[in-house]
């Protein structure tokens, strides 16, 4: 039964991904992407990583989609939506790349014996008195993530914080309005040349 569920979910997810790629209207493409993100969250639940599913919904659907919607709304082409059509020159290239990469990956997955042998997932007894650390981790993943983040992955955690700070400051500096910058510079220091910011 769970196999039928997985097949239905995966087929729906691939259809949503195709909708994201081929939708003419950009807002429709973003909504297809939301559905795809949700299907990925369902896959994480099937893989018994429910923490990851919650993070997926929170960050991807909650933040990344909103940023993409901002980008779509702020860069609306006034003449029409001709920039969203698929150009004929790249259509064959795109289909060729899709076929090649998908075939190579599927053949490679099929040929590797240690992966095809893993038809049954290893049973970690997920009970309260589970002895294996992985079983305990699956049972209570959120405290485990917090503990791992602070002990084993603390360097990566700090680097990720640094990266997020840099991205935040960079995005704010990039998207600042140029005219107000020049106006403010002129108002504060009359007689000096305003510094060239942005483009």
């Amino acid at each position: 039964m769970i196999q039928a569920l997985f097949i239905a979910l995966s087929a729906f997810g691939l259809l949503m991904a195709l909708g994201t790629v081929f939708a003419r209207n950009l807002v429709n493409a973003a909504l297809f992407l939301v559905a795809f993100f949700f299907v990925i969250a369902c896959q994480f639940v099937l893989l018994e990583a429910e923490f990851m599913a919650a993070i997926q919904v929170l960050i991807y659907i909650g933040a990344v989609t909103v940023i993409l919607m901002f980008g779509i709304m702020l860069t609306r082409n006034i003449q029409g939506d001709e920039t969203t059509t698929v150009s004929k020159r790249w259509r064959l290239l795109g289909l060729g790349a899709f076929g090649t990469v998908c075939t190579v990956l599927v053949l490679g997955i099929n040929a590797y014996q240690p992966w095809t042998d893993l038809a049954v997932r290893p049973e970690f007894p997920v009970t309260k008195d589970s002895t294996t650390p992985r079983g305990q981790a699956i049972l209570s993943m959120t405290p485990t993530v917090g503990r791992e983040m602070m002990t084993r992955y603390v360097v990566a955690f700090e680097l990720a914080g640094l990266l997020l700070t840099a991205a935040l400051v960079g995005a704010v500096v990039l998207a600042q309005h140029d005219s107000t910058d020049i106006v403010n510079a002129k108002a504060e220091k009359p007689g000096t040349e305003p510094a060239v910011t942005g483009s």
Binding site: W115, T144, A167
Partner: protein, 109 residues
């Protein structure tokens, strides 16, 4: 639940999603559309990480949830990349009045 999902089924789904995202990166003319296709590819890689963590033997020195931590950091980097990417696209839109990747072909002016 006598029958379980084999590992390769998750890998097939991730491979197909990755290929669809790759097709979107090549075929989309709008820059935001390209960003959306990149997100599809990143999510496919995330599914791969968590699937290999759940099914396969992981080294004990990496901790009990190594795959989930990797996927978490991928989510973080992807979110930061989308923010910076949209900022850049807004700048390009201010310059060319269209978010068309075919127009973005010079670094100066």
């Amino acid at each position: 639940m006598s029958q379980q999902i084999p590992l390769t089924w998750f890998l097939y789904f991730a491979a197909a999603s990755f290929s669809i995202g790759l097709m979107g990166v090549l075929m989309r003319r709008n820059a935001i559309g390209v960003l959306m296709a990149i997100e599809i590819m990143l999510n496919a890689a995330n599914v791969n990480f968590v699937a290999f963590w759940r099914y396969g033997p992981t080294p004990a020195s990496e901790g009990p949830i190594s795959g989930v931590m990797m996927a978490l950091f991928v989510v973080t980097v992807a979110a930061a990349e989308v923010a910076v990417g949209v900022g850049l696209i807004l700048l390009c839109y201010r310059r060319w009045r269209a978010a068309d990747v075919d127009e973005l072909d010079s670094l100066s002016g």
